[in-house]
Symmetry: C2
Subunit: 145 residues, 2 copies
DNA sequence: GTGCCACTTCAAGTATGCTTGAAGTCAACC
DNA sequence: GGTTGACTTCAAGCATACTTGAAGTGGCAC
C-alpha cells in the first residue's frame, strides 16, 4: 500500500513547517524520505518519530543530543542516555522550584521577589573554570509562523 | 557599609561571565549597578536576583519574559504570571513523559524507539494557522567558557 | 499549452543570549 | 614613570534552530 504522505501533509499533521522537516532530514533526525519524481514521500510512522523529537526538544535537548539518543547503539549510547535521565531529574526539580516561586509571588503580593526566601541556596551555577558545560543548555525552538 | 562587589566577584559567585552581567544590565534584568570611578559596584543582593533569573531561565523562560515577571506591577502582570504558571505545569508533565520514555528505552533494549508506545497521543504541536506561538519556546543558554 | 500549486535546492537571513575583540581608563605596585 | 590587571564601551561575531527568498520542476485542470 502506498499510503505515503507528502511533506505538506506531514508538516500539517505534525504542526511543523515543511522547512523544518527538510532541516531535520539534513541534520539526520529523520531518515531521508523516499522520493517520487523528486518529491519526498513519508511513511506515516515518521509522525511518531517527530512526536518523540518534539517531546525531547520541549524538555530542553538540542537537536544533536536528540540525534544521539535516537541513533541507538553508538558507542557509549547507554551512559549518554543515563546522563540525560539525570539531567531530566534535575530539570524536573528546578521546574518545581520555579513553580513554587511563581505560586508564592502570585499569592503573597510582596513587592520584592528577592525577599521571598524561596530560592536561596542550591541555585548557583557551577563555577566557570573547567568541568565542562555548566548547564544542559536547552535550545531555542522557533514557533511556527 | 561598603561591602559592595566588583563585577568580577559577582560573576565568580554567580557562575557567570562579566559579559553576561553587563548584558543583563543592558536588558533591564538587573538594575544598573552603582559606579565607583566608572566601575560597577554591586550590592550582594544582586546574587539572589541572579539566582532567580537563572532558575527561570533554566526552566525555559526567555530574558524578556523574566524581565516582565521581575518587574512586578506592570499592566496584566498577574495574568502573565498565571499563564507562566500553567506553562510550568505543562512543562513538568512533558518532562515527566520524556523521563519515562528514556527510562523505558534504557530498560527494554528494543531497537526502535518508535515502537515503544510511550509517546503516542498528546504530543502534537498546535496547528500552524493562527493561535499565536505554538510553544513557550525556551531559550538557548550559553555555557560559560 | 498554459496556469497553478506544491514541491525542489541552495544561499542567506533571523532571533536569542550571550562572547569576543579593539581601544582605552583607573588604581596599585615596583 | 611604567607595567599590570581588572575594569570600561562599542561593534561585531557565534551557535542553535529554523525561515525566507530566488529560481526552477512536476503533474494536474482547463
Amino acid at each position: 500500500m502506498a499510503d505515503l504522505l507528502t511533506i505538506g501533509e506531514v508538516a500539517a499533521r505534525a504542526g511543523l513547517r515543511t522547512s523544518a522537516l527538510r532541516y531535520y532530514e539534513e541534520e539526520g533526525l529523520v531518515r531521508p524520505a523516499s522520493r517520487e519524481s523528486g518529491r519526498r514521500r513519508y511513511d506515516p510512522s515518521v509522525l511518531h518519530r517527530l512526536a518523540v523529537i518534539g517531546l525531547f526538544q520541549d524538555v530542553g535537548f538540542s537537536i544533536r543530543e536528540i540525534r544521539r539518543l535516537l541513533k541507538r547503539g553508538g558507542t557509549a549510547w547507554r551512559p549518554h542516555a543515563a546522563r540525560k535521565l539525570r539531567e531530566l531529574d534535575d530539570r524536573i526539580a528546578r521546574t518545581g522550584e520555579a513553580r513554587e516561586l511563581l505560586l508564592t509571588v502570585l499569592a503573597c503580593d510582596c513587592d520584592r521577589l528577592e525577599g521571598c526566601d524561596r530560592v536561596r541556596g542550591g541555585h548557583r551555577r557551577r563555577p566557570l573554570p573547567g568541568g565542562g558545560p555548566a548547564r544542559p543548555s536547552p535550545r531555542t525552538r522557533r514557533r511556527p509562523a
